[in-house]
Symmetry: C2
Subunit: 337 residues, 2 copies
């Protein structure tokens, strides 16, 4: 039996519901594996209608029903029933989004779904209803009993994969947060995941410098010498094909990208600027280092355009496809030769 | 009479000489205006030969001879005669590079050449022979009696123009160097140059934030609130179409780029990562705010590949073309109606 992917609806007032519909409508041409939505059938139905899609919605009571239904209807596992109010987030909606995330995660952990794909939520609104984690990644890490520091964010698109070592912190805090140990441990998690989930036998990591021209031998900052170079040396000692610290500005053009499988970046925008230039509509956020496969489209709730039909489904399609591929690779590792 | 462009040779052991030859060889198809090299005829001749180009070199004694000669030979105004030693920089070569820069700048200031295009130099080697400025931009600013702070670097390619507010400083120093006044004054110089030299009547400036998500209302850094937003407000008060602070990661994809004429960036890599992703082989460094037009190809001496024929001429072609266009626009502003 084919295990389906579990897609949490995200904030029902955001673009998550309509993109779930669009992904189902495009699943044949996009070559997606079967998936089901964890959320509200009414919201999904209304969101599809608002987008001008004729999406048949089928409520299911167990993921086991999803694969057989998927070719003719979009399976929805209900965790609530609320009105569809695109662009107008409510606490009720946030509450639904949280239940969907909890349920979808639990089903994947229980082996009833092959991988977790999370729709976009509004963190500030979730915080108001008692969500204590900074984001979905940390929620999933907790559910998997993995330390937040060991759940590593990778953004992946058709042209580039990037792993930011620091993420949602001010630029002024970045130099103080970088340690050789942090860089080393996250890069090791990234390398292991590229092997296991992306079938890259000997992953090549390009480690970015922090400063302009990677510090130019200490003339423009010493973090490369004191922190990043020792991390690269430790990675090489650990048998990982790591290079760096490299000047960040010359790491991301086409010829440079051919020399590595993932770029390890020191801060948020160093990673996100190049991938959003290259893969704006197809960026997938993958959480590495978890016992389950988890991806999400690399965009937010986009309340401003929810329900208008403007939201592009590329990232959702890519997140579903990548989740399916990673899950299949993990399964194949479990099968005898 | 057509005034020619003055191209300084750069370090004679770098890729400057061969790219001057390649640019001349491609000048017809690339639609370049006439230019002459300030340097050494022997170096140019040997560099062309090493690259497999049949470049006729004609020594000239005055820029006034250049335009007539240009269709049949590459005019060279000699400031020295040394051996061509690609990949092996010498103090003698650095000295030639400096004389070439001095002479080319003086000829443009004297109105004998229409614009200055500078070949790549090795700063550390120039410093050894008594060059006191940090780079060519500051040298040219001094020659023009313009304060270094008022000579503003813009990098321009077919897809993007960026102005970094801070440049060759460590990331840890960036937050302390940013002031509303610095951002405002550089953006005003940029806007004026876009009008005068790029014929953009009402330049639209996109001002980047410093922190992830432009600080997200102060949750990830306060520079946006305390420094950048006031600078944007001051620019708007001054009648400039400025927007921001904007999240840097979503500023550079194709649809976003259509909404502005130049991005004002807070630090080196925020500006250089996107332009090198988009326009790696065609990036031009333009100095704004000078009484003369000055451009240069956005790459270094590349000693490692000098003489091998690997260096691509795209940026040199683009620097020459842009210099010619900017100079022509300034001239047209001087002509009556």
């Amino acid at each position: 039996m084919t295990l389906p992917l579990a897609l949490s609806i995200g904030d029902p007032a955001g673009v998550g519901p309509e993109l779930a519909c669009a992904a189902w409508a495009l699943s044949g041409t996009a070559g997606l594996p079967p998936f089901f939505v964890v959320g509200s059938a009414r919201v999904i139905e209304d969101a599809g209608y608002a987008r001008g899609l004729h999406v048949r919605v089928a409520a299911i009571s167990s993921p086991a029903e999803a694969a057989a239904i998927f070719p003719t209807a979009l399976p929805v596992l209900e965790v609530g029933d609320i009105d569809y109010t695109p662009g107008q987030p409510t606490d009720e909606g946030a509450s639904l989004a949280l239940r969907a995330l909890e349920t979808a995660t639990a089903l994947v952990l229980a082996g009833e779904a092959s991988a977790l794909v999370t729709g976009p939520i509004a963190k500030s609104r979730l915080a108001r209803i008692g969500f204590t984690q900074p984001g979905q990644t940390e929620f999933v890490a907790d559910a998997c009993a993995i330390a937040h520091a060991d759940a590593v964010m990778m953004l992946a698109g058709p042209n580039l994969r990037v792993v930011p070592i620091t993420v949602h912190v001010p630029i002024s805090a970045v130099p103080g947060l970088l340690t050789a140990d942090l860089i080393r441990s996250r890069a090791i998690i990234a390398a292991a995941a590229l092997q296991r989930d992306f079938s890259i036998a000997a992953p090549r990591l390009a480690i970015a410098g922090l400063n302009p021209h990677a510090g130019e031998d200490g003339r423009m900052g010493r973090e490369e010498i004191e922190v990043i170079a020792p991390a690269v040396a430790a990675l090489r000692t650990a048998g990982i094909d790591a290079r760096g610290p490299l000047p960040a500005d010359t790491m991301f053009h086409a010829a440079a990208r051919e020399t590595y499988d993932a770029a390890i970046c020191m801060y948020h925008d160093q990673a996100l600027i190049p991938i959003k230039v290259l893969d704006f509509d197809e960026g997938v956020n993958v959480t590495l280092g978890l016992p389950i496969v988890r991806t999400s489209p690399d965009h937010g709730t986009a309340f401003g355009i929810a329900g208008t039909g403007e939201a592009r489904p590329g990232a959702t399609l890519a997140a579903l496809r990548m989740a399916g591929e990673c899950a299949a690779r993990r399964m194949s590792l479990l099968r005898p030769g």
